[in-house]
Amino acid sequence: MKQDIILAGVGGQGILSIAYVIDNAALAEGLFFKQAEVHGMARRGGAVQSHMRLSNDAIWSDLIPKGEADMILSVEPLEALRYFEYLRPGGIVVTSSTPYRNIPDYPDIDRVLEAVRKAPRCVVVDSEKLAREAGTVRAQNIVLLGAAAASLILKDASLLLTIDALFRGRGATVLEANLKAYELGKKAALGA
């Protein structure tokens, strides 16, 4: 059993928090994992990606070879498109439909979503709306994690435990909002 995931988004969208939750859930389940991430310059509003590899067996490369990714999990639709050639035939794209427009030549969003839907399988959720509903627009990353949950090889309970550990220190309101964001993401994926 293995799962290779490309996490994508824009610097500041909480990609590394998603990675943190998956890492710790994987540790709790006794899996091997490697997670390569981007720091430094690329964080300043630039494209951010992380290669997340989970497996029952030892993992060699920190980077996912092209054609091995089982999933692209993106907090931004244009960013999801950047990594299509990493996806294996039959792979899944889980992405937000909410564009992050900090560049002058952002393409027409309908064309972006149309291109996303060319993936073998995809789950597109309105993370902005769902995060607001959960109580904070900053929880879009956790909405996406929820939307991906059913397709992950990790147990729901392990993910929930780490979300709890990650946000408990930031007060009850933040924790509640993120737990709700996770549930709303899950529900939206079922309907998507």
Partner: protein, 530 residues
Amino acid sequence: MSRQILLGDEAIALGAVHAGLSAGYSYPGTPASEIMEYLIRLAGETKAFTAVWSVNEKVAYEEALGASFAGKRALVSFKHVGLNVAADPFMNSAVTGANGGLLVVSADDPGMHSSQNEQDSRYYVQFAQIFAYEPSDHQEAYDMAREAFDVSERFGLPVLMRLVTRLAHSRSPVEIREPRGPNELRTGAAKDWTLLPVNARRRFALLLDRQPEMVRFSEESPFNVLKLNASDRSLGVIASGVGYNYFREAMKGEAALPSFLKVSTYPLPEGLIRKLVGHVDAVLVVEDGYPFIERQLKGFFGIAGKTVLGKLSGVFPVTGELSPDNVRRALGRDPLPAVAASVLPLSGRPPQLCVGCSHADTFKALNKALENYSGSNVFSDIGCYTLGALPPYNAVQTGVCMGASVSMARGASDVGLHPAVSVIGDSTFAHSGITPLLGAAHADTNMTVIVLDNATTAMTGGQPSYGTGERLLRIIEGVGVPKEHIRTIEPLPKNHEKNIQVIKEEIEHRGLSVIVAVRECVQEQRKKRS
């Protein structure tokens, strides 16, 4: 023992702590910053050792060397170009030798994710003629860091650890072991450590004498693995660091591996290389960075009857990172089937200054102040503000190395350029901007230095800055800049017109001026609020 999730950087830091580290020093720089970040966190929890950000890499190196001379185990870490700044003490410490174990960590950045060049620290290892490790994964990073201190004390020399961005910034679980305690204080060998020619000649001869022993040690290291395939002599692979991982990844699912040598230590394990090369017809060298091993293997004339493949032969690109994909190709394996790349043209999303960043306001005012001059040059430096080179600002024309903006503006001014403007952040100014300003103040050079004081080392994540606020102003005055030409502005949209006026006035002053643009980094402000 327990399993912990660690970045490659953190695995090195923890390995050092568990080897009985007494002191760690560093200057921030991607991809090495997280080594010191982690050390500072651990030092805060345990109070068992010192871990501090130094003013620059040279200072950091010398602080660590001093701790080593006092008998304690010390670490110094920086990004690859930081080793240039520290090169003077580094090269000489190979001659003085170390007392307590001294580990030098240099993080290379093939592909230039956040750097000016792709220089390969292994050349420095060869230059200084010391022993070095190159980990391929997190466990090795931890284990090698621990062992490095013993090896440093065994040879009486600093030991270097070379890693690359991909390992520095990858997370994985690491098995950790029982920690060792610190060394006792132990000073000593004045005649070894005072490099008067009479001592230096003796010490350098000793360093050269030790080389064969280091090669032997490298050959015996369990981190170097040689596996010969008895039934297939066509190809052998020499792979180092993350290159080894990509090699094994590419061979996944194959019944048999070609003969291979995993190289993890330097000087190169010559005997093992001879065995591998003797066994096969062609050798593929898989190394991230410069073709360091490949070049030594080939020399001028190549190896008679053998083919050497790698970057020099064109099997790999000479620049950029290795990847599992280009290593797979080099091994002659077909690409994996994959989904087609998106046909929609994807606009790039380059890094940019944050919304509300003070530098943006300074650049807008500076551009306006310079608009009626032709042939001006704005010399920039290393930091977030280097992004001022990109649209929409297009405000700066150079970005070379730490502190260079001040010295380069001086040089340009000396040969007649006006306006010659330097733009430098407060942390970079403290790092190596003060010394050139001292010379420029002595000459009253006709140039304008703008210090962007955002009270932090922002680009690398907000490490402390030692020359900020009132202290910064006193430093500038202290080096001899005339008080009436030390001006302060607050870069905010509401002060735009006023700020243009100040910059114009100081450009028109035919002598040295320093303008300090004071406003806190928005990221740091945000951190304080949350």
